[in-house]
Symmetry: C2
Subunit: 285 residues, 2 copies
């Protein structure tokens, strides 16, 4: 079995670098809106019985004028899955429950209902196998076709530079994943979702890391431009109500279906970091 | 196998009678507060492929001055469980997936944070077995010991009239059930919870129906008196914020853990009726 320590470290460094650049950019947007809001960072340590080095993470949170609530987590954890959970994870089992995971996850809920909310997450996991996963999806309470097309076009470009099949596969995967079966609706206008992008060897790791970096670059390129386009748009109390109801759907998806939330709850993650994705305010009619 | 058609009908009639009396009482409270709010009723029909009589229900909803949002559902449904779900239900299996269910469920979210929210639900189910279940729990954003004691004392009295062990067992069951593991907190100050109160024969049905009726009577007796005690209490914006954050916990519990919600989603229930329990407004900090 390959020792992935060095690769996990390289992936972690990338995620931290991406986090720093994203947070700087989001704070710059707050300045343009005349706000002094900035990210506050909290570190947390994971606990696992009998594990002296279970890892942890840093949660960045900003509540601003444009970003009503945005969280950016980077976490790097290692240990053993609980036996009943291990069997559900790629390359792990009750007999071989060891894992490492490093990743970045970001959810932004915006003050102005004309500005789309967004989610982005990329990660590198090792068990008996090693793989990347991730994605991003756009969640406009009030959708604009122009924004949806620009978001998809930017991720299509990032995908196409690496593999001609990625965009279509990962776009469809996002459509299947970001879906609320009990309401028969998608939670937003999609994006990309990928998982089990397997690293059979170090060369595959390098290829997959390069792709994952480009997914992060695409996000950093396209999302701020959508925010700047819509952040000054006037909105009515009805627009805000539409946003709050839409956020109810978002909370339902994350609490009932989201695998990342489940993974966090089952592996003793930090509750505030896991549930950071929940909207600052939501209504149910 | 006993034919429980007649008993199911008797239970349904009781649940409808209780619903009518509760709604009348809650509307009377609105009048005392100077509001004209009243319940609106929507009927829904269940759908199940190949089932010409799958049942349905009626959802009553009131948005008033005292009751910010209160829903009271009575539903009576019958059919076959999905094969993968049947195995998880008492007395059912993939080979024998037939069931009937009738019940009342009520959730009230109150405008004034000094007034406790409340949940009450009782039901009668048949598969290869037949049983009652139900309970009630009190959810004060700002708890008063006096209210908690009165609520428990009234259910203790209802339980003790039927079986000396019921209150302690069902109080403890509520403590175990209405718990949010990922936050290590209870969702409120408890109450009672019971399930699989088995009806081996018609005499047992009558005994268990009589107990279930007394649970409903206890609710109708005690909750309105708590509402009237607190509904005029002045509250601050901080009190309201406490309530909204507390409602975030409530939404988490219902979407991640609640078995009634899961049962509804898995048996093709009405989404608006199932998710009626969600708060009108919630915040996550």
């Amino acid at each position: 079995m390959t020792d992935w320590t060095q690769q996990t470290d390289a992936a972690r460094k990338w995620f931290e670098n991406l986090r720093d650049r994203i947070c700087t950019e989001f704070e710059a947007i707050e300045r343009e809106a005349g706000s002094e809001a900035s990210f506050r960072y909290d570190s947390w340590s994971r606990k696992e019985e009998g594990n002296s080095d279970p890892g942890g993470g840093t949660r960045g949170l900003m509540k601003g004028k444009v970003f009503e609530k945005v969280g950016v987590n980077v976490s790097t954890v290692r240990g053993n899955f609980a036996p009943e959970f291990a069997g559900t994870i790629n390359g792990a089992s009750a007999e071989s429950p060891g894992f490492t995971a490093t990743g970045i996850s970001l959810v932004a809920h915006m003050a102005n209902p004309h500005v789309p909310a967004v989610h982005m997450n990329t990660r590198f996991l090792t068990t008996g196998k090693a793989w990347f996963g991730g994605g991003a999806d756009l969640n406009p309470p009030i959708p604009y076709e122009e924004d949806t097309e620009q978001f998809h076009a930017r991720f299509r470009a990032a995908c196409s530079a690496h593999n001609p099949t990625y965009y279509e596969r990962f776009r469809k995967w996002a459509d299947d994943y970001f879906y609320i079966p009990h309401r028969s609706v998608h939670r937003g206008v999609g994006g990309i979702f990928y998982d089990h992008l397997e690293c059979e060897d170090e060369a595959a790791f390098e290829r997959n890391l390069a792709y994952t970096k480009d997914v992060g670059e695409a996000f950093l390129d396209v999302f701020p431009s959508l925010v700047r386009r819509r952040m000054e748009t006037e909105f009515t109390p009805e627009d805000k109500q539409t946003q709050l109801e839409w956020r109810g759907r978002y909370a339902e998806f994350n609490l009932v279906y989201d695998r990342g939330t489940l993974f966090g709850l089952k592996t003793g993650g930090n509750i505030d970091a896991i549930l950071m994705s929940l909207p600052p305010e939501a209504v149910w009619s």
